[in-house]
Symmetry: C3
Subunit: 480 residues, 3 copies
């Protein structure tokens, strides 16, 4: 057992190969973008002219979310804190350096060279977030080698999907509800479907939290909560669009938070609060406002979206996750389908409504900047008129709201399809025998992959579990 999960050879060899590949790719393809290249003497420091001053603050905020927010949130298991936090660290760092090249090929490719700047890092962190969300579905049941393999495959599949959707379908998705949350969710579900472990449906003795692990996890939630407005607004048009993105995200989060507390209490046997709800359901609002986050939906709509998303997410944890595990062989460890799937769908629908309802009365001419595909084509006389009002306006495709709505729908389905298929294939690769996958017995246990300090003892928590453990678990097995 222990032998077959030793990282002694597998991990180093795998990392070494990856590093050689990445060094080769960086050496041949990666160069500086003109804001980072000394040659251009581009010491222009106006934040809006120079991407470093425009994007770095948002990049830094997202960094905190990825490494500290996710890291703490995923450390909620009593015996799996090292793994939750540290494998998040490993997977994130690899995903970002890998995404820089892969996304670069599709989005920052100028004459065969990838032009590197802070903006690429920002995009790479979004790709990284996708991997980490999917990670939530298989938390506790995978080895670091499997996680690296997942990142290795998910990044390209995501990048292609992202690129295809943006280039051919052309959608509005400022907060990434479709491309980030829906993709990540269905990819993760695909993976976990393949990695199905029947015996874990009865629950696992180590699948519990501790007093300190719950607090640590709440800290993670708070870091995600605090910086989510930066996450949702990082890639919007600057100015009023970005401003609205910040406002809507904040409002959506705060309404979903108080809703989560209310639901947690009302559906608890003894009228008490459940930490798992506070750690996860409170965040639903951030995803739900995503697709329409930069639009003129009005503050009250953001508030209502937070309440709706939170409610859907809560009942998802309560009924859907167990159902999927029992009936559909989909063990969604952290309930990503609730926090990213259901909310992502609601968000997408809200986005579609916002697109259909958008009018020049509300937006003024800048409507054609936000809904850039609705801008008239270059040859259209209306385009010249508009350009008088907004010099920097780019020609569009002259789509109507209804047309754009249909494209959004197309994007939703194709994203879900690509993600699910990609996830299934990735799952099969991760299942290969030399991946050091832990036995059912050793799931949710740091002991397997770490030298543990003397005060750590998970030994007495053995499967099969007794009744009290099951109770424990039921309140805890739904997270992120």
């Amino acid at each position: 057992m222990n032998k077959s999960t030793s990282l002694k050879v597998r991990l180093p060899v795998f990392v070494l190969v990856l590093e050689v590949v990445i060094i080769a790719l960086y050496a041949v393809f990666v160069t500086y973008d003109e804001n980072a290249d000394a040659k251009f003497q581009n010491n222009e420091t106006n934040p809006m002219e120079n991407s470093v001053y425009r994007d770095y603050p948002y990049f830094a905020d997202v960094q905190v979310m990825i490494f500290i927010g996710f890291g703490c949130l995923l450390a909620f298991f009593r015996f799996y804190g090292f793994s939750g936090m540290v494998f998040n660290f490993l997977t994130a760092t690899f995903s970002i350096q890998w995404a820089i090249v892969i996304q670069g090929f599709f989005q920052f490719n100028y004459g065969g060279k990838i032009h590197l700047g802070v903006i690429n890092l920002l995009y790479a962190e979004f790709a990284c977030a996708v991997v980490l969300i999917s990670y939530g579905a298989v938390l506790g049941k995978t080895s670091p080698v499997q996680l690296l393999v997942m990142a290795l495959l998910e990044i390209p599949i995501f990048s292609v999907t992202e690129w295809a959707v943006l280039k051919y379908i052309r959608i509005n998705d400022a907060g990434g509800s479709i491309l980030i949350h829906l993709f990540a969710c269905y990819f993760g579900l695909g993976v976990t479907f393949v990695l199905y472990r029947p015996s874990l449906n009865k629950g696992h003795a180590k699948e519990i939290t501790s007093y300190s692990s719950d607090i640590l996890s709440v800290m993670g939630t708070l870091f995600l909560w605090v910086f989510w407005p930066s996450f949702n607004s990082a890639l919007t048009i600057k100015g009023d669009d970005q401003h609205r993105a910040i406002l809507h995200t904040f409002i959506g989060l705060s309404s979903s938070t108080i809703t989560a507390f209310a639901l947690s209490a009302v559906f608890n046997k003894r009228g008490k609060l459940t930490m798992a709800d506070i750690q996860n359901v409170t965040l639903a609002g951030g995803v739900t406002v995503g697709a329409s986050v930069d639009m003129m939906i009005s503050p009250v709509a953001a508030y209502a979206l937070g309440v709706m998303g939170c409610t859907a997410c809560f009942f998802g944890y309560k009924y859907l996750t167990p159902f999927m595990a029992q009936r559909l062989r989909i063990q969604d460890q952290c309930g990503i389908h609730n926090l990213h799937g259901l909310t992502g769908l609601i968000s997408s629908i809200a986005g579609i409504c916002a697109i259909i309802l958008a009018t020049e009365e509300t937006y003024g001419p800048s409507m054609y900047q936000i809904f850039s595909h609705r801008a008239p084509p270059v040859d259209d006389p209306k385009f010249l008129e508009l350009q008088k009002l907004i010099p920097e306006l780019k020609p569009g495709l002259g789509r109507t709201g209804q047309e754009q709505a249909l494209y959004q729908v197309a994007a939703i389905f194709s994203t879900i399809a690509a993600a699910s298929i990609g996830g299934l294939l990735t799952g099969f690769v991760m299942k290969l025998s030399f991946m050091a996958s832990p036995s059912d017995e050793d799931c949710f246990d740091d002991e397997l992959f770490f030298d543990m300090p003397a005060d750590f003892s998970s030994a007495e928590f053995k499967m099969p579990m007794n009744h009290e453990d099951k109770e424990q678990m039921s309140s805890e097995n739904t997270k992120v």
Copy 2:
């Protein structure tokens, strides 16, 4: 007992009602300000023209203080970590969404519409900070329902006071020593006076810390410490005023920190350090520099203020807090009267001195920007002169330093009065029977409001129930 503290009905109903009210108010009154409204095509991105770029960084810093700083700091009890951190989360999110409307009516009301931008969120967070400071006085003895009620009432009382003081008395208080710290302190003391629990004066078995809770609490202190300069400088005039606010806050904090260590050691029986001092007294400097934080008080004055505030705060904890509990029936759980009251008073006095001593030699003409009420009225010829030097100067009331000082004094007293009365009234409402207030026995225990993980056990920590105590209690009961 347990029945009467169940949140099953109370919390959800209460939250639901609040959400309906807030949705209605947002729907009718809240719209975007012109920096957030697409119609104005206001994609101006110069940080100083567009509030989002001017204010968002400070907003984000204050967010960290509110949710992570306060959250960790208040989690210092061994058996009350969940409640300390999580009720802070609940109270803060509700307070901010509530303050957006209430403060909006008073400060961002244009033709019956509340214009929403990041700046409102920033103001709302200061209102939220007020509630959380007051929360410190009743930590461990209140149910989440009571805390929401407190926020529900404190926000309007604070907003009216703030608005009245700023509109009619007109004061200088950049760091909020008067309007934030003094108000929050005396409001909290008013509440706790009404919620007086005689039996807790003899101490409570669960009123203890643990090794990890102390460390968590210090982390909270550090987050508050690190971002305090942003808190004190967020609302100052931009440019050199904001610059001084940052410098003074930092200097005041660092001098109060080393002073706290020294005092902690010298007054400890065995010459050791006490964590409670390091968690609280170190922060005194941040409050003490508040009222004069943007003035030309010179760096050494900021340093001295830090030392003074820290000393007052330390002795407050040592002698005043116990005295107030024993003699005045005021149980100030976290000693907010030391960290926010005494320091706030010193800060206010320092501010008054700085105002009286302010001269054009030191400030140049921009004195009339910082002390805007001392600027000559529009009809005064001196005003035109000054406007030549500072085009953006606004006409003032032509107050002298002495006059302004008197208005500061008036503001101090009226703020304290409004806060105390408001606190008392709020306390009576919170005392109503259906508020799920915990019994003395159940104070400082997460068990009461949370499903606890298996490793949590506060059971053996019972209150000292010797014979005389029982007598005491029974006599109290007869009183009631």
Copy 3:
């Protein structure tokens, strides 16, 4: 025993004296710089004209690294969490306020007055980082009084060295690999050499971690990791130089992180991961890119540097640290020689290569801004030519790449020499009898300097240690 380590008199007296001295110095010498002085009406708010808007965001990021990053990282010992985190807090606050004056005399001295602005605070934080790195060498074996003495002496020695190297030798060291990391490392080694404790070479029973202390320490690592790009880019030329600094630091960190995981697994007996590696070795890349961080070294070079630095750092922990302790009487508690010494040397060499290889083809004329000492002197006709291309260019010394390289070498050796000698002298002062130095028995134990909560018990962990403890320790006694 207890008597001789009591802080009752020593600490307060020492702090009091320091405060009197600092107040006197601030009063006489410290005034506002022109961006912070109201008189200049300098309400210029363009981020690049006004240092507060240019520097404050980086200052805030570095604050988080110093107080939270270092604080958590140094709290990795099971029984020494309070001390690790809290003494870091004390030492940092004192170091910064002290550095403001000392560095001020050398670098911000205008007509006998120290002009204070956020930029000074930023410099002071770098000086503070130097002290905290050195602190890592003596962690667990020193009293707070000794640490304050160390800061008291190290700050001036560092400031003189920094000033002399920058003024007379004139080097490129944007990330501070030479002046910060090498200085801090060899100063710390000098101190610990003098404070040598033979009995601790056998290891100490309390020199172990716990499950929660390891997690806390990883959080510290993550905070350092996340904000390191701000640390390395804070003092570079704005524009593309700063942009590259951010990119290189991020890339270097992520390559060193995955390398650290691989090495940790391959050299572990059972093919498991060691937390000490993840807490420390992952950060090596941040130091290694330091000296060339703003140069056109290409992204792949940053990646390779991360891998190299990480490898050197890892083997340093494995072989060099034990060797130094056994043979050279140098007990490097946290292995700063690996994380800051070896990596600093590699970084310096890489910087020299980058300097020699720098050409106008790659950099364009702005080469003479980055390598300012290679710019032609004012009388050289080439200087006028260049000034046409870059108006703000300053005249230099007309050094060739080779010449500059030699000056870099000179700087490396003189920095190491000054640091070592300074460290030795400081060590002798710290060894004086009234410094409350803990006995060997009481090392790594919070009990000695803190009132401990009831759940703390290090009592049964007494020296002499048994075998299993030693094993424990060997994997844990090398950190930061």
